[in-house]
Symmetry: C2
Amino acid sequence: MKNPIRIGILGCGNVGSALVYLVAQEPDEFTVEKIAVNRIEASREPHIDISKLTADSSSVVVDQNVEIVVELIGGITVAKDLIELALKNKKPVVTANKELMAKHGTELLRIAKDNGVDLLFEASVCGAIPIVRLLKESLVGEEITRIVGILNGTTNYILTKMTEDRLDFEQALQMAQKLGYAEKDPTADIKGYDAGAKAAILTSSAFITFVDPDSVFIEGIADITLQDIDFAIKNGMVIKLVAVIEKLRNEISSELQISIRVHPMMIKISHPLASVRNSYNAVFIEGEAIGEMMLYGKGAGGLPTASAVLGDILDAKHNMSLNTFNRFAEPRLIPIYDQNKLTSEFYIAVDVADEPGVLAKVAQIFGSNRISISSMEQNGFGQNARLVFFTHSAMEADMKETVNQLSELESVKKVGSVIRVMV
Amino acid sequence: MKNPIRIGILGCGNVGSALVYLVAQEPDEFTVEKIAVNRIEASREPHIDISKLTADSSSVVVDQNVEIVVELIGGITVAKDLIELALKNKKPVVTANKELMAKHGTELLRIAKDNGVDLLFEASVCGAIPIVRLLKESLVGEEITRIVGILNGTTNYILTKMTEDRLDFEQALQMAQKLGYAEKDPTADIKGYDAGAKAAILTSSAFITFVDPDSVFIEGIADITLQDIDFAIKNGMVIKLVAVIEKLRNEISSELQISIRVHPMMIKISHPLASVRNSYNAVFIEGEAIGEMMLYGKGAGGLPTASAVLGDILDAKHNMSLNTFNRFAEPRLIPIYDQNKLTSEFYIAVDVADEPGVLAKVAQIFGSNRISISSMEQNGFGQNARLVFFTHSAMEADMKETVNQLSELESVKKVGSVIRVMV
């Protein structure tokens, strides 16, 4: 007869409820001792045993019968206090909390280490995709050079609908909201903050460093137009919101630095990331020995996320049985690479008054900022003329200055999207 | 000061040489004690320390200074004896040997267990893709329903060249041989045997069972024509050689069974597997909680495979430090599902003499075998007429009988490719 592991759960929303469902399939392995909820009287799915609910979340953490604490509350304040309390009570913690791990992961991992217990967080990045485990175990000896991830399912869904069904951004967003992929206030997703927090966690795991999520360079997708999408398709590409994490050397000091950025990118349709559709996530990894590798899967949702939590619970249980815990190497401080010094190929759309000489003026600005144009196309005529450019590799600072100067040209009505192109 | 782990390597070909290169990057972590080779005098890359070479492979295995044995000889006989000897000497073994693990994996894992040491084999399936670890760790609580894998890089390269560069099969094979992707005798790859062995290992890992690789249903790609490829493209699909592993219930006894098959398949271009190009591998997994997941990466090559070996070495080392080893659950016997009873949609090409009434005769044979046609198209006229059909879901046995009867029709010159379509 096995001794089932006794779990205490903080939070019983979508993921918590799915977790209770999953562990109930294996009664020999697990038993749920207590579930902390905000409102005991709220209606629950029938598989939730309401006798286990409590409104006193710290009682779950300190309960002598609870062996592993699962934190599914989200947010930074309460969750952090409860996780600290659990760790200091020598209880392993499994969390799906991306904001918290992005902001305070290093600190909490140190507390876990000091108390000799696990703090596992696979579910905090990309739901069912086991990227944290992959980085910590399979790729531990690997020299990773670049990671490109589609880390946000909402924006990927919106961009897929724009590309495949020719909805405009607002229509696609409304559809995502109707289907529950986007929240009422979609800011965190469409502005790229959600992807930025996940990128910070990935960076910490992949490069054993600490990155403040506020230091991630972020651009969202709200300004992408159907014209941009069409132009990408015409050139054999799709537009994706990606997080790019890259090891680079400072060009003067040759110091190792790291670039972390979230922004839309045009990607060739033959690239594996281009086939990541709808609300799926994927992480594309480049390394010296492995070459290229990609993980693809559901980034959110109750069952997929609960499945990742369950994997961590099993890991924590295994470690407990061996009287050990996952030791993370001490993070190094790796400086952030100056975004202005990055180079990239760019797509840029400029709405102009279609007058003689306008192209010359525009081209002159590109040239004077050391940006060379690889192709140009004019769409529309007269008052609706739009010039669309692809550039050769150019420096971010130069592109910024080009956009500024273009905006000041009298014959330029508007500088539209500026989108980086993956090479 | 760390105590580097002392490795003994059996075999110093492509992967062995790359492994020596990788471990030399971390001299605090690893040291290579001895390397067994066939011919000491053969020329080696400069990073191989020839003073460590020996022609006596069992001396490596029994050497008191060797803590972990890495088997990279390949083949079944010698490798099996050496691995057994190592395990019985209580030494963990890491192997990249797919034939051996497919054929004798269960037996060897039992010997490892009896001796309380690890036998790890990540590198034996899909090179750098950490699919074994994923199945054993992240997905251990998951109810996997189906796995579809592109497990052979050579055939995927050939099919990619046929699709993208319109080479015929022979031309694409020659190109693969010139580039070193295909061997001089390409039988094991193009007939599907290599993919079949990997499918057997995957099945054992995913479903905790033992599958004799000889019981895997196998069809290769040698008969696929450019016409088939063109027809796939025209219908928004590509042709891939896939391994399908599926849990099914016997329709009478409702007993749990498993279907394992390797064959070409038409896959919609929007499916993530369709974007796996050239010599890359991928494993697409469907499960009840995770939904869909895919791993993509290099399936072969010195460095990618050595990288997987290194991951296993680190794992074995970690376990040794905890006085433990990976315990695999005792395999169950799961019967193989009768291939004849499987259902699928089919593509089938039939070369006919273009005479009045021929379509009626052909259609009559489909109908009398309970196969309903979803679309039909005639290409060419007169003596070069070809009828191409897509069927609705049909049973394998019925399709086999249909092909037999069609072949006997006087107006049918040849039944060409019969390719399953993924739904």
